[in-house]
Amino acid sequence: MNDFIAQLLEITQYTFLRRGLAVGMLVTLCAALLGVTLVLRHYSMIGDGLSHIGFGALAVAAAFQWAPLPVALPAVMLSAFLLLHDGKGARKLRGDAAVAIFSTSCLALGVLILSFRGGSNVDLMNYMFGSILSLTQNDLWLSLALSAVVLPGFLWFFHRIFSLTFDPSFARATGVKTQAYQLFTAGLTALTVVLGMRMMGTLLISSLMIFPALIAMRVCKSFRGVAVCAALVAAACFVIGFVLSCTVRRGLPTGATIVVTNLCAFGIFAVAGRIRWRNRTHCGD
């Protein structure tokens, strides 16, 4: 444990690592909270889909030598609105099928564009698997802004988000503006994905959203409990994964290390949940 803290302190001496830690922590917390409603509304794959779309957008930006974020952000946000929106237009192609078709197409187009441009494989690898080295000061500001909206917003609208997730038609009937909340979560999800995919990579960012909620649901049975637990677990897994990836010899890929840490936590919580709920029916947490 002392070793771990010593290593953490050592990491914070490097500017780029400090920045990675800060951005990662903020994005992780936002992703975990948003993930709770996404997972419970059966939109687990939305993060994955959005990141593929983001990949396509980044490829286009790279091909034309544009700045990555101003291209990727609007593109991913627009897709998020289209995919999470329950309106009339989405009736023909919806849910997981829509996400799958849309996102794989964008991924494929992105790969094609990158290969036409004759770009190096390093770019491709960076986008696919992420790299904490690629985080900039801009990312830090953006992630601060994102968490300034998501964290207080989640607290403030907590009960509404619960009602909306639990029984959307009742929520609408009692006057909750479900459409507005949906667009709001879609926008924030898009922002989280774009920020997170620089660090975690296209292929792994969705795990930041899905794992914490699923881990928390093993042990907690109330909505509030799940939200709190998801945030705590996500933060812990992120720090452990981050430190491991920086300190193990030669350096492990950060995104993958964090996902595997989450996977271990899932296993531990699944066993703990079994034990906890074996004889009890109450959800006092």
Binding site: H159, F166, F170, T174, G175, M217, S222, F223
Partner: protein, 254 residues
């Protein structure tokens, strides 16, 4: 009854989808403490009417007027069946309190009075000791009561019940019906109830709206429960239902 304040009024209400009109010019008034029973087979527009009353579907023509101070937000709605997924984390009390959302305005948390009232309502419905249980681990009858408690948090005047007895065993269904009747009598809450169980729904109903596949005035019945029992449509329907139940019972025995 005439002295009571109207809770809900439909004026020449027309409802429909793109091609098909479901209801044409329906008009009625429901006053405090009255009970309207909506009957009809599947596909006759009962659910569409409910959606419109809840404000989830816009009328193609006509209007729905809610009583003096009860905006749309004051309707307590008990959905027919809630497809809650297997592992949705929610305590019963969290579900009940969410009924207050319409009255919360821009505030973020429930007030102390609201929490206390949620507790009272749960005690009245006999689910107080289930408050900390997980919603999905409750039995069908318990879930229905918790949802009814949520509906009561949302209103003091008008309850909208969509087949409250569906999917419950006969004993639980009877208990729930008694509970609803008591609420309606003691508190003067107006009730609109969609039902397939004709006999129990008619018992204590002031008005009956029977919808058929036609959309027009002549296709449906609207009147008091006595008038309905005496009408050809009512007698026919009640007989069919009884025959249907007997047939079902016969199948069960065999």
């Amino acid at each position: 009854m005439q002295g009571q304040l109207p809770v809900l009024e439909c004026r020449a209400l027309c409802l429909g989808y793109e091609r098909r009109e479901v209801l044409h010019e329906l008009s009625f008034v429901l006053r405090e403490g009255e009970r309207l029973c909506v009957l009809g087979e599947n596909g006759t527009g009962k659910s569409t009417l409910l959606l419109a009353l809840l404000g989830l579907k816009r009328p193609t023509k006509g209007e729905i007027i809610y009583g003096a101070d009860s905006a749309r937000r004051q309707i307590g709605y008990l959905p027919q069946q809630l497809a809650v997924q297997q592992d949705f984390p929610a305590r019963a009390v969290e579900v009940v309190r969410s009924g207050f959302l319409g009255a919360m305005g821009p505030k973020a948390w429930y007030t102390r009075e609201q929490r206390a009232r949620a507790g009272e309502i749960m005690a009245q419905l006999g689910v107080a000791e289930l408050a900390d249980r997980c919603f999905r681990e409750l039995s069908g009858g318990q879930q229905r009561r918790v949802l009814l408690a949520r509906a009561l948090c949302a209103t003091r005047r008008l309850l909208l019940l969509d087949e409250p007895e569906a999917g419950l065993d006969p004993i639980a269904a009877k208990e729930l019906a008694q509970l609803i009747r008591a609420l309606h009598k003691d508190k003067g809450i107006a009730v609109i109830q969609v039902s397939h169980e004709v006999e129990s729904a008619l018992d204590g109903a002031d008005y009956v709206l029977h919808l058929t596949r036609g959309a027009f005035e002549g296709d449906r019945f609207f009147g008091t429960a006595e008038e309905y029992r005496a009408s050809p449509l009512g007698q026919d329907y009640m007989m069919n239902c009884r025959a249907g139940r007997q047939a079902a019972r016969r199948v069960e025995y065999e």
